[in-house]
């Protein structure tokens, strides 16, 4: 049979990307196996050669990360795990990945599909060693423009057989509001330097104009260029390694083995899901406040406050794979808390990839066992191409937290106690821009409380502080000395744990951490905002862990025009945590304009001796706090992780700490306090049906806040959730919500 050639490319049709993509999808739909790979022929014929082959691929991406990350300008990219390198198939499916931002592998096929669907093979051409870049949430699967991707095709005799891929979170994204996660953004035109997949270089070198774009369109151009060079350096290494491997094993072996690796991993991950989950429906809800009203007068449509609903239903399909439906989540709006499906998947897979793939080959096989449903028109799938996505992480982290919570409840029910914990991961970034006294402009993001947080409680032990980060396995909060080097006016007066800041329980969550940034030599101007996954208005919850409290939300406190110089002059007794800022202010020791923000604050103009304090990374508890051993409460007081008044109100433990750090518990007073807490609970409790009737009356009479009503109206505009809502409250079909 004559070979069918693709016109213009000089390639047989079956070697084109468009053909491969279509065949991959068709064969999967027909067989349920990746590329129709029902038999793992190469593995069965010579398992050792096959494992060696995979080991070579894995080594290539590991080596790339180990080498390239040192080119970085951002602590996040270099060592805080805010980066990843991967090898993908010609269609964009991940085969092997380095440590780091691994859930971003869900974005590669979106970018590559976009390029294929838009005939990039023809124009501008996809050739060996070309360099493509993107950060566009709509077309590339990037969650937000702060996450920037580099993609390098690897071709043998004109046929693309693989892609070397990389992503890292850059320091500054070039939006009107500076930083990585601009909060005040109305549509994509305010998200910053957004670029769909485009060719930016050839022969493993970037074009000069590309560097100019970074310099002109972002406030940290030199740093962003170095991060770009970092991504490309790693991709270049992978490119070289894969050419060697393909030559050694042969291209046909390479292509077939890659299909088998993904299919094998799909099966193994499915096995893991089957053996650890219990079929059922796990419902969850989270909320977020968007407070844009009054921040501007130009765009009336964006001048509003909203409460956003994140609603999820976690279940399993008949094969044992995960079905994750977000119906009931709010409709998209004119704020930065939207995202498109590719980026939403990146969020969802944070908790799924590590949980189910750590024991096997971590590849795109994981994605094939998960059906994520993002309803058109919702915050996770806007029915417009212009929605702002700058801070999608705010509620995609909440969404995945609900998914993880469901998974960990499954672990508990199956008896895997050592695997089950309260899996929250609230984080907070301090971001902004300024102009030094001499006119030098700059932009920045401080990633310290993005890099890691406390681990939640287990069913049998406490969580620990500063232990993990769900978005990367490489928990690392960096060093104060390095952040101060990069962001000159911000100096830490404190960088430590916030006592009592955790979800309490029989086993408490790990204590979260706090910083107090002290402004010095702010120059001509300095503006700061925050980007983060939670605010103190809403908990960042892993609900239902047998009565344990969820993690408290993130805290932001600003103190302007303070008397810090006087405190320094007196005895240096300055506040060292956000909690202390509030406590010092309450005592009158710290003076100035003190604000505790319950939501994302609008940009704050900061001057010398102003303070920006934040706390994040707390985690949830497990079990009833009143069942906690008194001796554990006393030890928490001794090591400074629990204030005495917290011990009394939360645990009923009456104890005092002396000057030498010795803690003494008053047993009689403790017994009395705990009895009183039980009695108080009993007095406050009521039968569930009674509570339900009271709440139903409010729903029916619309005697709830307008923002809440609006939120439920938005959620019930999706038919499935409308039915669910009416069913729960037993509302008539014609009742107007």
């Amino acid at each position: 049979m004559a070979t069918v050639m693709k016109e213009g490319l000089g390639l047989p049709l079956e070697k084109t990307l468009a053909y491969k993509l279509s065949q991959r999808d068709t064969t999967y739909d027909e067989t349920g196996c990746y590329w129709g790979t029902k038999e793992l022929t190469l593995k069965d014929q010579d398992p050792i050669k096959y494992e060696q082959f995979f080991s070579r691929l894995q080594s290539a991406v590991f080596a790339a990360r180990e080498k390239a990350r040192y080119v970085a300008a951002s602590p996040g990219g270099r060592e805080m795990g805010e980066s990843v390198w991967a090898l993908a198939t010609a269609e964009g499916d991940t085969l092997a990945m380095s440590l780091g931002f691994i859930s971003h592998c869900a974005a590669f096929p979106v970018s590559i599909k976009h390029m294929i669907d838009n005939d990039f093979e023809d124009n501008p051409g996809i050739n060996d060693g070309d360099v493509f870049g993107t950060d566009d949430p709509l077309t590339s699967g990037a969650p937000h423009p702060g996450d920037t991707y580099t993609l390098v095709p690897i071709a043998v005799e004109g046929e693309v057989i693989a892609w070397a891929c990389s992503v890292n979170h850059i320091m500054e994204a070039g939006a009107p509001q500076a930083g990585s996660w601009p909060v005040f953004t109305v549509d994509t035109f305010m998200d910053g330097f957004v670029f769909p997949p485009m060719k930016t270089g050839e022969n493993l070198r970037q074009a000069k104009w590309w560097e100019t774009l970074w310099m002109r369109r972002t406030r940290a151009g030199a740093m962003n260029i170095l991060d770009d060079k970092m991504r490309l350096a790693g991709c270049s290494m992978i490119h070289g390694s894969i050419h060697e491997i393909a030559e050694e094993y042969g291209v046909e072996y390479y292509k077939q083995a890659c299909k088998e690796i993904i299919e094998e991993s799909r099966r193994m991950i499915l096995d893991n899901m089957r053996s650890t989950l219990i079929p059922g429906r796990y419902e969850g809800s989270c909320f977020r406040i968007s407070m844009l009203k009054g921040q501007q007068t130009i765009w009336k449509h964006a001048d509003k406050n909203e409460m956003l609903h994140v609603h999820t239903m976690f279940s399993q399909d008949e094969k044992g794979g995960i079905v994750f439906d977000t119906e009931g989540s709010s409709r998209w709006g004119y704020h930065g808390f939207n995202g498109y499906p590719g980026g939403s998947d990146v969020g969802l897979y944070l908790g799924i990839t590590t949980t189910f793939a750590h024991s096997c080959k971590a590849s795109a096989g994981v994605n094939m066992n998960v059906e994520s449903i993002y309803h058109e028109g919702s915050i996770y799938n806007p029915d417009t191409e212009f929605a702002a996505c700058a801070n999608i992480w705010a509620q995609s982290m909440q969404m995945q937290c609900l998914s993880s919570s469901a998974i960990h409840r499954n672990f508990f029910m199956r008896g895997y106690l050592e695997e089950a914990f309260a899996p929250e991961d609230s984080w907070d970034g301090v971001q902004g821009s300024g102009v030094l006294e001499d006119g030098t402009p700059y932009g920045f993001t401080n990633f310290e409380w993005v890099g890691g947080g406390a681990m939640g409680a287990y069913p049998f032990k406490d969580g620990t502080p500063c232990t993990w980060a769900q978005h990367t396995q490489l928990c690392n909060v960096g060093n104060s000395e390095e952040f101060e080097y990069l962001i000159p006016p911000l100096h830490h007066l404190g960088r430590k744990l916030e006592p009592g800041y955790c979800g309490h329980g029989k086993y408490r969550g790990g204590v979260g951490q706090s910083s107090v940034h002290w402004m010095q030599e702010t120059g001509q101007r300095l503006g700061i905002t925050r980007g983060g996954s939670a605010t103190s208005m809403t908990t960042f919850l892993s609900s239902g862990m047998n009565g344990g409290y969820p993690a408290p939300g993130v805290i932001t406190v600003t103190a302007l025009n303070t008397n810090i110089p006087d405190l320094i002059k007196a005895d240096g007794d300055t506040p060292t945590t956000a909690g202390e800022v509030l406590a010092y202010a309450a005592k009158g020791k710290l003076t100035g304009d003190i604000t505790s923000w319950k939501y994302d604050p609008p940009e704050q103009s900061m001057g010398d001796n102003d303070l920006w304090a934040n706390a994040a990374g707390a985690s949830g508890g497990w079990g009833d706090p009143l069942e906690r051993e008194n001796s554990s409460v006393v030890e928490d007081i001794r090591i400074g992780q629990l204030p005495e008044d917290f011990a009394k109100t939360m645990y009923g433990v009456v104890a005092t700490k002396d000057e030498d750090g010795m803690v003494t518990m008053d047993e009689a007073a403790t017994k009395q306090e705990q009895d009183a807490l039980y009695a108080s609970r009993k007095a406050d409790s009521k039968p569930a049906v009674e509570w339900w009737k009271e709440q139903k009356a409010k729903v029916e009479s619309h005697t709830i806040r307008e923002e809440l009503l609006e939120m439920y109206r938005s959620s019930t505009s999706f038919a499935g959730y409308d039915k669910h809502y009416r069913n729960f409250w037993q509302l008539d079909d014609d009742f107007e919500i």
Partner: protein, 722 residues
């Protein structure tokens, strides 16, 4: 080898070097006639002085002398131990008190969040396995002191200058803290203030106040400043170095002093030396003793450096295969490759350490098949139990080597240990062959193929990840199992040469004997060189760099004088850590000269940086437009010390003497049985060529030479595998 007579003390004819591992303490005793002997004793972790003496005795007895005679005639004794690791793992260090910048009191608990250090990839992906290491200080004994010094910024010259006092040092806080620490009976006090690597005055003042208070209280305990221990950026790493010094090093100092005392009581008349983690040897007075935290593998690297100089090899990749791991290191341009912030026992340190990468592939590594029929090798290891063929309960790589015929079951450790070949074969069949549907020899071939590939990939990764061409490197193979697997892990590996040694199994102890007497001095600096700097700008930079080098030299002279070394005897090496402006990582750059007196000298420094950088990264990763930053400068000071000398032998014929032939035996190699000739190592001569299929046996190791391959023995008795 022989002892360099000009460097020996009068009438001293031996060098003693000991490598005290977790299981065995090995001694290598180098004599002036070029011969050497090896001694062994079980490591006594409770009394290292006892196992030291026992091991020396063992070596001495083998040449018919007593340990006293060995000690009396030793010009130097070098002892590399594992005491600091044991102290960390068992938590038996000093009770530490800590003063830190107010607001940073929880650093030791938070550990920067680095809860995954030392884990494998699958463990790192498994979040539930992340955990903090055992703290080296009780949080209750950490007290804050109000103070603040600026560290400077990326916008050099446009913002607060580095070293500026922003918050004055609060004496009241120091006094309150020290008072509490005295009451808490701490045994050592550490001080860490933010940015002290730039300006030490606050830490030093706090130390002075603390010492006064301790004196008044009649207490004699050390007070240690972070800026004296590790004057480099990143407070979390600096804290770990400080804590290691406080918690473990002072304890280890006592152990080494005990060993030294035992040696002296046994007739030794010099100072006992121990090995630094970045190469070099120091005595027990060395102030930053935590820098000796790993020393065993370092010995091998130093031996490799000496051998590479002797053989005229510029670039060497070392491959050390022991029972539990395969360690790879690099020597580039005759210099050891150094890692700046290495991970050790779950801690990330601010300590230059010879860069060694490890994979869990050793001769004792367990071999198993999982439920998905995937073959796994390691990291679990049999250690001294060898394998099923001896005392272990799982199949190991050595079992496979025995089953295939590579390792003679009747000549393990020279026949001291008998191995059960039938048990090895049965286990290979049950554990791997049957589940995969293979016969045992196919299974064995596959296992060795995986093990060898893991090691080959590790070696390639360290070379390629630094941008080197593998063909420019000679691989130096040692460790007990190195010569057994050398054929496998060098297969299809483009290398300049592959070499091993008759004493490969004791190479790390040999390397310890080769250590230079060396100290390394670092200074954190904040220096920028904008792109297109004029001569005046460059001259200002030159003054700063030159001043830093001279100041480090002065520190070296003072410190080494306290160890009894004349400044006239010192030699210096120079370098710096540099980066493009905006980068966060600084790269070690070595220089031929340690003087910066002119703008041209700065051009040379920039050129050296660019050359180093482009050796590592593709051209597209360069960014000279950004300008340059220098963040640290350093000086190495080297004092003379007795060194082993490699003896040159007369070249004899290519044919090995008849006396060297032992037997011919069948070996299953790469899927086929071959007749391998067996030769005795001790009978072979310089110039001999041994053609494969052959095996060279020695009581401590076995060299495998496959068909079509050969070993050529050169005039230094180095074995070249070709």
């Amino acid at each position: 080898m022989s002892v360099s007579k000009e460097q020996l003390q009068k009438d001293k004819k031996y060098i003693l070097a000991l490598d005290a591992g977790g299981t065995m303490t090995d001694t290598i005793l180098v004599k002036d006639d070029g011969t050497f002997t090896v001694g062994k004793a079980l490591t006594n972790k409770q009394d290292e002085a006892a196992s030291y003496k026992e091991s020396v005795e063992d070596a001495a007895q083998s040449i018919g002398i007593t340990s006293r005679e060995a000690h009396e005639n030793a010009s130097v004794s070098i002892y590399a131990g594992t005491g600091m690791l044991n102290t960390l793992l068992t938590g038996t260090g000093k009770k530490v008190g800590l003063l830190v910048t107010r607001g940073f009191e929880d650093m030791s608990i938070m550990e920067g969040g680095l809860t995954y250090l030392g884990q494998t990839q699958s463990e790192i992906l498994h979040n539930q396995l992340h955990k903090h290491t055992r703290p080296m200080v009780d949080r209750q004994n950490v007290h804050g002191v109000s103070e603040r010094i600026s560290g400077g910024s990326y916008f050099m010259g446009k913002h607060i200058d580095p070293g500026t006092v922003m918050v004055p040092l609060c004496l009241k806080h120091i006094k309150e803290g020290v008072k509490k620490l005295i009451k808490a009976d701490v045994e050592v006090i550490g001080i860490l203030f933010i940015n002290s690597y730039i300006e030490q005055s606050h830490e030093h003042k706090a130390k002075s106040v603390a010492l006064d208070m301790l004196k008044d209280a009649g207490i004699d305990i050390p007070v240690v400043c972070s800026s004296d221990i590790a004057p480099v950026s990143k407070e979390n790493n600096r804290l770990k170095s400080l804590l290691l010094q406080c918690f473990a090093a002072e304890h280890t100092r006592e152990t080494i002093a005990d060993v030294e005392k035992t040696a002296i009581e046994d007739g030794y008349s010099a100072r006992l030396l121990t090995l630094l983690s970045y190469g070099g040897a120091v005595n027990v007075e060395y102030p930053r003793l935590y820098e000796t935290v790993i020393s065993g593998p370092i010995g091998g690297m130093m031996g490799a450096q000496v051998m590479s100089q002797k053989l005229g090899l510029k670039n060497v990749c070392t491959a050390d295969m022991g029972g539990t791991s395969f360690d790879v290191g690099l020597i580039v341009n005759n210099m050891l490759s150094i890692r700046k912030d290495p991970d050790f026992a779950g801690h990330r340190l601010a300590l230059p350490m010879v860069a060694i990468d490890s994979v869990g592939s050793g001769a004792g590594s367990a071999v198993w098949i999982d439920e998905y029929k995937r073959l796994h090798v390691g990291p679990e290891s049999a250690g001294a139990e060898v394998g099923i063929c001896y005392k272990y309960d799982k199949l190991t790589v050595t079992d496979v080597n025995v089953a295939m015929g590579y390792v003679d079951p009747d000549y393990f450790l020279g026949g001291k240990v008998k191995l059960d070949v039938e048990k090895a074969k049965a286990a290979l069949k049950k554990v791997v062959a049957d589940p995969l549907g293979l016969d045992i020899y196919q299974a064995g071939k596959g296992i060795l193929s995986v093990v060898n590939a893991q090691m080959r990939d590790a070696a390639k990764a360290i070379l390629v990840s630094k941008g080197y061409n593998t063909g420019d490197f000679t691989m130096m193979c040692y460790g007990g199992a190195g010569p057994v697997h050398m054929w496998g892990y060098t297969q299809d590996f483009d290398l300049a040469d592959v070499i091993t040694f008759p004493y490969a199994a004791a190479f790390s102890a040999f390397g310890g004997a080769c250590a230079e007497y060396l100290h390394r001095y670092h200074m954190g600096v904040v220096i920028s060189i904008p792109n297109g700097s004029d001569d005046a700008g460059k001259m200002a930079v030159a003054d700063k760099i030159d001043g830093a080098w001279r100041s480090l030299e002065a520190k070296a002279i003072a410190e080494m004088a306290s160890e009894g070394i004349d400044s006239e005897e010192l030699e210096y090496r120079y370098g710096f850590y540099g980066r493009y402006m905006g980068q966060l990582e600084s790269f070690e750059t070595l220089l031929d000269e340690g003087s910066a007196k002119s703008p041209e000298d700065i051009d040379k420094i920039i050129a050296a940086f660019e050359e180093m950088y482009t050796n590592i990264y593709p051209d597209g990763a360069r960014f000279p437009d950004a300008g340059y930053a220098i963040t640290e400068v350093f000086v190495q000071a080297v004092a003379p010390k007795a060194m082993p000398e490699i003896i040159e032998h007369e070249i004899e014929g290519v044919t090995p003497p008849e006396a060297a032939y032992v037997e011919t035996r069948q070996v299953s190699h790469e899927g086929e049985f071959h007749d391998f000739k067996v030769w005795q190592m001790s009978e072979l001569k310089a110039g001999n060529i041994i053609h494969g299929p052959s095996i060279i046996r020695d009581p401590m190791t076995t060299v495998i030479i496959p068909p079509e391959k050969r070993i050529e023995i050169d005039n230094f008795m180095v074995l070249h595998y070709r």
